[in-house]
């Protein structure tokens, strides 16, 4: 094989590797070393009733990382059961607590807003877990909740858990864009 051909083939291979790499490597990485202590997302708007104009919720880059990482979503699934979220929200279909698989989010459906809802608690029964669940685990539970409505990375979401299956495989749920995201332009929640 002429040298030109070989060099072109190697370049094509490297290009293929490079473009695939970032997508795959985020989904799969597991930071085994002690994680830097996580902090809550800042400036989260959960309601659009505020005097005068104000910016919508800034999107926290860690949100994308948690939503796109398979290990964080799997841990979120585990903690969703451990911390008894299923007690009120059942397996995502809702019951005492609101459903988490549809597209109606009274306090916002983005991961930062779900984090705030878990941490601060909400009226009518949602307890505040601020100090009770470390920050990283709240991020992970929020990522799992996002995957329940198909908004997390589909490739990262597990298809089911080893238990009675009451919801269709969440790796197949087609994306339900969050309505009721309290951005500035719209008045009132979803």
């Amino acid at each position: 094989m002429s040298v030109g051909w070989k060099r072109r083939r190697r370049a094509a291979l490297m290009a293929a590797l490079v473009c695939v790499a970032p997508a795959a490597c985020n989904r799969e990485n597991r930071n085994m070393n002690a994680p830097v202590p996580e902090t809550a997302p800042k400036g989260v708007q959960v309601s659009d009733l505020h005097p005068g104009p104000s910016a919508a919720t800034p999107s926290d880059p860690r949100g994308r990382e948690y939503e796109g990482n398979a290990t964080h979503i799997a841990n979120g699934q585990r903690y969703y059961k451990w911390f008894n979220c299923s007690g009120c929200h059942f397996n995502g279909g809702g019951g005492i607590g609101p459903a988490l698989m549809d597209d109606k989010w009274r306090y916002g459906g983005r991961i930062e807003q779900i984090y705030a809802t878990i941490a601060q608690g909400r009226p009518n029964g949602m307890p505040s877990f601020a100090d009770k669940i470390p920050e990283q685990q709240i991020w992970e539970i929020a990522a799992y909740v996002r995957s329940l409505s198909g908004n997390a990375d589909k490739l990262a979401a597990p298809s089911r858990a080893d238990e009675m299956s009451s919801i269709p495989p969440i790796s197949n749920i087609d994306k339900a864009p969050p309505k009721g995201d309290p951005d500035v332009s719209k008045a009132g929640g979803g």
């Binding site: 089911r160 299956s165 269709p168 495989p169």
Partner: protein
């Protein structure tokens, strides 16, 4: 050591039927592989059935209608299949073409019946282990139904478009053997999917 001539191979014929040719052995090899796959899938079905409290798990067995229709259709198709095989081994172009078209038609009909079967399984693959193994068995058989559909279509087409020589006749004959295998595989699966839930204690 020097070589000494002991015989001449030129008068040998250049084609043979069934086990004399090589293609037949490829079909036999894949039949052994798929036979092993089918029997293990059926063993898995029985394993899950024995492990379950009640079978089918959500209580609704598939409707008998279409499955039985498929079984009857496939067994019936063995007659034209045998006639096609005999005609091809007698190297009679006319009858071979005729029966090949009949077998191809029955094969197409079988695919249509299989479509209806899917609608009347009364379970989803992600409902529970019963649904998963039923869909696995029926999908395994459908893949072989499809491959033989394409093979029969391909072989029948060539009977009309290309000059027919011994190799074509031998291809038709090998295809009839493979179709016999596909029919033979359906019978145990039919019993498991349609009758096991009804007989299970």
């Amino acid at each position: 050591m020097t070589a000494r001539l002991v015989g001449d191979l030129s008068p040998l014929p250049a084609a043979g039927f069934r086990s004399h040719g090589l293609w037949f052995w490829a079909a036999m090899g894949f039949m052994v592989i798929e036979g092993a796959g089918f029997s293990l899938a059926c063993a898995a079905y029985v394993y899950l059935m024995n492990g379950a409290r009640e079978w089918p798990l959500d209580g609704v067995a598939p409707d008998l209608g279409w499955g039985t229709a498929m079984a009857v259709l496939l067994v019936a198709s063995l007659v034209p299949n045998a006639l096609m095989s005999r005609a091809s081994r007698k190297r009679l172009a006319g009858p071979t073409q005729l029966w090949a078209v009949v077998v191809f038609a029955l094969n197409t009909l079988a695919l249509v019946v299989r479509g209806f079967e899917f609608l009347h399984l009364n379970t989803r693959w992600d409902a529970n282990a019963y649904g998963s193994i039923v869909w696995a068995l029926i999908l395994l058989h459908t893949v072989h139904l499809l491959t033989d559909f394409i093979d029969t279509c391909f072989v029948t087409l060539l009977l009309f478009t290309h000059p027919i020589d011994t190799e074509r006749f031998s291809d038709v004959d090998d295809d009839s053997v493979y179709w016999g295998f596909v029919v033979a595989c359906w019978l145990p699966i039919y019993l498991l999917i349609y009758w096991a839930p009804r007989w299970a204690p």
